[in-house]
Amino acid sequence: MSRFVEKTVGEVLEYIRSAVFSENYSKEKGLLQKIDARAKLIVILGLIFSAVISRRLEVFITFITLSLILAKASKIPVGYYLTRVLIFIPVFTGVIAIPSLFNIFQPYDGTEILTVVRFNQEVVLPLLKPFSEIAITEEGVIWAAKFVLRVTTAVSLITLLVLTTRWSVLLSAFRSFKLPRVFVVILNLTYRYIFLLTDIVLSMLYSKKSRAIGKEGTIKSWRLNARIVAALFIKSYDMSERVYLAMISRGFDGSFPYMQQSKMVLKDYLFLAGGLLLSLAGAML
């Protein structure tokens, strides 16, 4: 069991790494790659905002379809795009969407469609209202479905942005909106740390594997894992300190000047206008 978990953790980490850090498609010459990063950023954020406040299924479906079309037009293989979108959905939604299916976590009495367990007496638990059965409700299903769709829409859009824009260009787009420097710095360092952290975890997993001789008990193995996590905290703290010193050493003064700076042209403005109109329409519906 624990072997299986470790293997899976390793695979997921490898996946996240390749997903977050490959910039292959940002160098293609597709539709979105040709649009100025600032225009792209505003439009994508606008659409996401619109999806977040909208209650209409049609809006979600339209936006998801639109992302697929844009992905295709930007030379991103649809299969690749979909897996990248879908891998993150369970992570983001599972914790919230699954409990919300059940009556016991809902503040109101819903229409039950499937009873999971029925108890002989009323169960009283802290934080929950008393209940005598656990069931899936219709309202719960609809709420969860909308929630998942909403998240899927947002993730589809953001994936599109990330896939078609180089990280450095995206950061300079953030900078050009006069966002506080510290925000952009933190964003960049977070990105860097995700990589270092996955790197550290992976190499620790591998080094553990290479040192583990024969079979070890589950408890022992988890104890070792706990130690790995502890070491990880210390390492990442230590690392962050040294990364900062290395930046200071090279004259870092809190600013992140960027080399790339381009002018918005007609097609960027057109894209911006179209995207904002669509966002507005989605939000109003």
């Binding site: 010193l245 090279r250 960027y258």
Partner: protein, 305 residues
Amino acid sequence: MKKVFELRNVSYRYPAGAVLSDINLDIYEGERVVIVGPNGAGKTTLLQILDGLLPARGHVKAFDMLLDEKTLKSDVMYEFRKRVGLVFQDPDVQLFSPTVLDDVAFGPMHLNISKDEVLKRAEKALRLMGIEDLKDKHPYNLSGGEKRKVAIATVLSIDPDVILLDEPTADLDPKSRRELIDTINTLSRKGKTIVTATHDVDAIPELADRVYVLNRTVMACGTPREIFTDIELLKKANLEIPQIMRLFRVLECFGYNCEKLPLSIDEAIAELTRTVETEGGHIHLHIHEHTHSELEKLKSRFDHH
């Protein structure tokens, strides 16, 4: 000669405990200095003090500027950073940009020079390290040696007068190691001051005009020859001698008469040429009555002094 660094009674402690104490050290303009010492000796800490990153106790002077805690936090450090560059021991801490080029351009971009100039400098540094083809790659997915080269390029692009290198030859394959040593010496000939912390004793004769032996404090200071011929010191500091020197110690057991043990290939060539010329066109080696016992003694000394 002008002094670049002057340290008097410098000490440093981490919250966990004292690391350096009573450090006295001078580094002159255009010099090549190596700092050598066992793991945990405080080499990295010392280089970070020289780079004005850690506030040490005592007298730390760089270019006639006293680096006390107040100065370290002030704007004058901006000038200092232009003139002194540190290549960290762990290249990972130096690489945080989306591409290798961005990383190499990071330093120059803080210099208030035009974008073209930044790019020119970055490309020159990449060329110097022979890694132009890595320029658009993610610094994260490089091999250990490639990362090391990029990390060095990120400092060279600033074009500092003083270059501090922490274990620069670690992770490098033999050819890259050779090239790096040559690059460092080329920079030195251009007038750069170069301070290297290293375990690589074979590189020391090639990288040092002067050597500081460090173990929490300065144990000795001298030319590579002075250091490597001081047997007591080698023992005390747990230092090995360069391979070439070992070979000539072995030759001595076979009756070779060597006034000055060569430390590097170049010196070995000179030494052998001299011997052949003065001793009638050949080198005489033989097994004499002490050869075996001397060899035994030598071997046990090499294995664990």
